[in-house]
Subunit: 312 residues, 2 copies
C-alpha cells in the first residue's frame, strides 16, 4: 500500500466527487430534447466510484506546480476548469460505453449499479441515441467557447480522449472482446484486449489530467507507466470480483463472464495467480509515480490502492 492516510484520502475523494457530480448535473441534459436529456442524465447519475474523473483530478494536482508561472492565478483557474471538464468528459465516454455495452445486441445486461439499464428504462433506440449524444457531449465539454483555457490544451484533451475512445482504444477493445467469446486467448492476447477496452481510457484519464499542466518528459513517462499499470490492474481485479462477489455487492450481474464463456484473467491464470498479478501491477503503478519525479503524487497513489482494494 502507498501509505496515504485513509482519512485524508476520504476527505479529498469526497471533495472531488462533489465537484464532479455538480459539474455533471450542470452539463449533462440542458439543451437536449426532454426524453433524450433524461436518458443521458440517467446514464450518468448515481454512478459508481467515478474512478476516471478522480484520476484526471489527481493527475492535475500532481502537475499543477510544474512549470507554472508563480502568481498566475487566472491561468491556474483556467487549467483547473480544464481538468474538471476533462474529468466529466472521460466519465461521459465511460458512461456511453456502458449504455451501449449493456444493449441486447452486446452484453444484454438488465442491471447496472443496482438499477435497470438504460435500454430497459428508455428503450433500445433511446439507449443508442443517449450513448451517441454522450460521446459528442464529451468533446463539447472539452472545447468551451470564450474560455481562458488555452486552445492547445483544448486540442490536446480532444486528441487524447478521441484516441482512447476509438478504434485503437476502447471501441477496438470491445470489438476484440466480442470476437473472443468462446476462444482460448493466451495472456498476451488477453492483455492486449484489456489494454484497449478499459486500460486506454484509464491511462488517458491520467494523461489528460497531466495535459492540464506542463510536466516535463520524465514526469509524463512516469505518469504513463502509472496509468498503464493501473489500467490493467483494474481489469484483473474486475475479473477477480466477477467470480468472488455476488450481484448485490457488484451492482451488476455477477458470474457473467463465465456464463458468457468470456476469457478472463481468472479463467486463464487461476484465482490466486490473478490476485498476485494485480499486486504486481499495483507495485508497478507506484514505481511509475516514483519515477515521475513529481513532488506530490499522494492522491494518485491512493487511487491505485483504491483500485486494488475495491469490492465493486
Amino acid at each position: 500500500m502507498s501509505g496515504v492516510p485513509d482519512q485524508a484520502f476520504a476527505a479529498w475523494n469526497a471533495a472531488q466527487l462533489a465537484r464532479t457530480e455538480a459539474a455533471l448535473s450542470r452539463w449533462v441534459g440542458p439543451g437536449a430534447p426532454e426524453d433524450l436529456g433524461q436518458a443521458m442524465r440517467y446514464a450518468v447519475q448515481g454512478g459508481g466510484k467515478r474512478l476516471r474523473p478522480l484520476l484526471v483530478l489527481a493527475a492535475r494536482e500532481a502537475v499543477a506546480d510544474e512549470g507554472a508561472l508563480p502568481g498566475n492565478a487566472a491561468m491556474r483557474a483556467a487549467l483547473d476548469d480544464a481538468a474538471l471538464r476533462a474529468a466529466c468528459a472521460v466519465e461521459l465516454i465511460h458512461a456511453y460505453s456502458l449504455v451501449h455495452d449493456d444493449m441486447p445486441c452486446m452484453d444484454n445486461d438488465v442491471l447496472r449499479r443496482g438499477k435497470p439499464t438504460v435500454h430497459v428504462q428508455f428503450g433500445e433506440s433511446g439507449a443508442l441515441l443517449a450513448g451517441d449524444a454522450l460521446q459528442a457531449l464529451a468533446f463539447e465539454l472539452l472545447t468551451p467557447e470564450h474560455s481562458a483555457i488555452p486552445a492547445n490544451v483544448q486540442a490536446a484533451l480532444c486528441r487524447q480522449l478521441a484516441r482512447a475512445a476509438g478504434a485503437a482504444g476502447m471501441a477496438g477493445g470491445q470489438a476484440i472482446d466480442l470476437a473472443s467469446v468462446g476462444l482460448q486467448l493466451d495472456e498476451s492476447q488477453l492483455r492486449r484486449m484489456h489494454q484497449l477496452k478499459t486500460g486506454a481510457l484509464l491511462q488517458a484519464s491520467v494523461m489528460m489530467g497531466a495535459a492540464c499542466g506542463t510536466p516535463g518528459a520524465l514526469a509524463l513517462a512516469g505518469l504513463a507507466r502509472y496509468g498503464a499499470s493501473l489500467g490493467l490492474a483494474f481489469q484483473v481485479v474486475d475479473d477477480i470480483l466477477d467470480v468472488t462477489q455476488d450481484s448485490a455487492t457488484l451492482g451488476k450481474t455477477a458470474g457473467k463472464d463465465a456464463a458468457d464463456a468470456k476469457p478472463t484473467y481468472v479463467s486463464l491464470l487461476g484465482l490466486e495467480p490473478a490476485r498476485q498479478c494485480a499486486q504486481n501491477l499495483h507495485r508497478e503503478a507506484l514505481a511509475g509515480l516514483d519515477a515521475s519525479g513529481l513532488p506530490d503524487t499522494t492522491w494518485l497513489a491512493a487511487l491505485a490502492d483504491m483500485v486494488l482494494l475495491r469490492s465493486n
Copy 2:
C-alpha cells in the same frame, strides 16, 4: 439557379471528391482491429454525394483569401489540411449516424446506397461499435499531433462538430424524430426537428470550412444563413424524393416515411407546396451568399443547386 457553369462545377466536384475519398481511405481503418476496421470502411466507402465534405471544402475556398497574410504559404497549406480533415470528420459523423439509424432498434433498414446496411453485413454489435468508433475518429482527425494547424482552429473545429452532432444537434433531432412517429406535427415542429436532425450538421459543414480561415462577422453571418437554408432545403427535397422516386434510384427503401407514418414536408404541405418551399429555401441560401460579401462563392452556390436538383 446560380449560373455556375455545369462543366466547371463538375471538374471542381470531381477533384474534391478524389481528395476526400483518398483521405478517407487513408484515415479510416488503420489502427483498428481487423473486423472493426472493415465495418468502419464499409460504412464510409462507396457512399453518396459527399455533400458535407464538399460544403466544407467550398466554404474553405470561399474564405481562403480573407484576412490571410499574403505569401504565408505554410499557413495556407496547414489550413487546407485542416479543411480536408474537417471534410472527412463531418462525413464520418454522417456515416456513423446512418449506421446507427439503420439498426433494427431504429429504422430497421436493410438497404443503403444499394448495398446491405452495416448491421446486415457485420451484425448488430459490429454496427454499433463501428458507429461509435467512427464518431471518435472524427474528433481524432481534427486534432493531429505535431501539426502546423493552429490549436485554436483544431479546438474550434471540435467545438462546432461536437455541438452539431450532439443532443442540441443531430442526435437531438433523431430523438425528436423517434418521438414523433404517428404524431401530427405542425410545420414549425417539423422544421425544428429537421434543423437538428440534418440541418445542424450541414450548417456545421459550412461553418467548419469557414473556421479554416479568418472571415469577418458579416461573412460568417451570410455563411450561417446559407448553411441554415441549405440544410432545411436538403430535408424538404429528401421528403419529396421519398414519394417521387423508386428504391433503385434512391439506393435505399423508398416510401419508408409514409409506411412508418413519419411526418414529412410532403405529408404536411402537399407535394407542390413542398416543392415551392424548397425553391424558396434555395433562393434564401443564395441570398445568404450575397450578403456574406465574400468575393467568390461559386462552389457554394453550385452546391445549393445540386441539393435542389438531386434525384437521390
